[in-house]
């Protein structure tokens, strides 16, 4: 589905990604772990198309297309979704109007007709229920005054509505208590299928107890230095990152 080859990127003059190689197939769940400042969020931002980062080398191929040539919205239309570590508050735009606009603009981008109002409503109902969100969420201003947990849940709600092919969850577990974590993970699991893929970026093992990864990668100093199965995450949880740092010093 997505092939990342020798990806290098920097922000201002600072080199952050120093040659990432990663291949993700449909139906797979990949976890990316690593100490602070290793480049995890940069990788997700570059895939989603944030313009603050300058790609200095390498390529990203998404279903046969060069992703780096596309605007963020075009990437979204192709089925890429980023759950933000820090979702942005947008006063004056309600959750329901926002998601309606997002869905219909994405459909327009793919040359499809807008979604019927009735279908939209039914879907919103279904997905709020899935994430155990009160319907009153829909009429609130996007993320304004939301607690940390509500913001993350709202991200997964948007993911559920948009049904992306590739979802990148950037530290979706941070700021969640154990109940919210279970609800969010359960939501993500329900959305998994043979056709879509999920990338989970996290510091901790605990989210991976709920969303079981097929592959675990360790990112350090802008490179993937180790890959394995879910046992690698357990090993990291037990031993910390120091041995990784020592190996790559």
């Amino acid at each position: 589905m997505i092939k990342i080859k020798d990806l290098q990127a920097r922000v201002e003059e600072k080199e952050i990604l120093r040659g990432i190689n990663l291949e993700i197939g449909p139906g797979e769940v990949h976890a990316i772990m690593g100490p602070n400042g290793s480049g995890k969020s940069t990788l997700s931002s570059v895939i989603a198309g944030r313009e603050d980062y300058e790609v200095t080398g390498g390529a990203i191929d998404f279903e046969g297309e060069d992703l780096l040539d596309l605007d963020p919205e075009e990437r979204a239309h192709k089925g890429i979704f980023l759950s933000f570590q820090y979702p942005v508050e947008i006063p004056g735009v309600t959750v329901s109007n926002f998601i309606k606009t997002a869905i219909n603009e994405s459909r327009k981008g793919r040359g499809e007709e807008p979604m019927e109002a009735r279908e939209m409503l039914a879907k919103m109902r279904e997905k709020t229920a899935l994430l155990e969100m009160d319907k009153s969420y829909l009429s609130r201003s996007l993320n304004e005054g939301f607690s940390g947990g509500e913001k993350k849940r709202n991200e997964i709600f948007q993911m559920a509505m948009l049904e992306p092919k590739l979802a990148i969850l950037d530290e979706t577990d941070s700021g969640l208590d154990i109940d919210a974590l279970r609800i969010v993970a359960n939501g993500v699991n329900k959305l998994r299928s043979e056709d879509n893929a999920v990338v989970v970026i996290t510091h901790y093992q605990r989210l991976l107890d709920y969303i079981e990864p097929d592959f675990v990668h360790v990112l350090y100093n802008g490179k993937i230095v180790k890959s394995g199965d879910k046992n690698l995450a357990l090993e990291l949880e037990a031993k910390g990152y120091d041995w990784i740092k020592a190996e790559n010093a």
Partner: protein
Amino acid sequence: MTDLAQDLLSSFVVAEAGLNGAKNLGVVNMRKEALDRFEASGFPTTRDEEWKYTNLKPVLKHDYKIMLKSESAVSFGDIKQYLLSDLDTYKLVFINGKYSSWLSESTHQSYDICTFAAALNKYPDVLAEYLGKAAPAGETFVDLNTAFADDGAYIRVKANQTVDKPIEILYITTDENGTSFSQNRNLIIVEQNAEVQILERHQNLGDAESFTNFVSEVFAARDARVSYYKVQNDSDKASLVDNTHVKQATGSNVHVGTYSFGGKLVRNNLHFYSGGEHAESHMDGITIIGDGQTVDHHTLVDHQEPNCYSRELYKGIYLGKSHGVFNGKVLVRQKAQKTNAFQQNDNILLSDKAKVDTKPQLEIFADDVRCSHGCTVGQLDKNALFYLRSRGIPKREAQGLMTYAFASDALEYIKIPQLQKRLNGVIAEKLGINLEFAL
């Protein structure tokens, strides 16, 4: 003295005897005194503190026709688009400064909704009580208007009456006079516990330059409720100085909303005199302008009595090479304890060439008050923009959505849903987006 000022002075001598109200000695004297003051002051320049950021010179240099003819045939079809079509309203339509009974729908049934010309000729007692009592003598444009204005809207709502439908006032300029200098005046009297909603608009239909020096005096008696909406979306040939002065008594509630989307140069002098306890003064507005346009909001809230509330919220969105000015003054007099005054002016510059001068001012002489004021000038938040785009919303739509969301709370107080809808449409059009919903 400018050529235009000279022209105005000499025109007055010729026109004086023919103006409405020429038989009313009080009015005649008022006109003469006002003209004398204008002769002494002339037009303000950028050396004048109140006009520091807005240079009138380029719009005053035209050779304006001052005494206007109104013979051109304007049909309802020509003006229909400037009225709220999906709403039944009273209509007062003026063509080149003169009332058009053909295009208007006035009434004298339960309330007077008619013309200032009629008031000048027929209601000397009302004039003696109200004319010039809100708009202060000594302000150049008010003085000039006082000298010349002889038509406009006259609205008087008697005690305990609620006007059954909104009133639309439309001032149309055609190019029958070439470049024209118009001076109309509204006199709006809302008596005790009465209520009215007014919409007002100035529109230049021609290709010639126009300048309008407009005065509106509003008197809200005890517990009266007034909503007054000004839609400014005139052509690039039209300039306007609007002087609206509102005098409020105890318990009255007045809202003036100013929605500025067009015109070459627009200056709004909006003054509230809060002269009774528990009065509420609301003023808000949205400005969205582009290349070559200037909109200048100069507001004053004069808190004279205790326990009053004022709320002021102006949002500005500037595209292209446009210029916005906000100068908002809140004056709390010594007697006005427990005043609660809120003032905010927020601006977004969507272009490198756009410019905003904003100056909130507080003058407080009472010691037990709550006053807050603030102003911001910024660009759209880059993170928020990326967030929207990452959800599939294209850049232009995302910018539009954010800009709209930024501005929309200044529309909250509008009591006429049809007007709100209309303004939503204008805003979407100005921002070049397709808004399928009202936020």
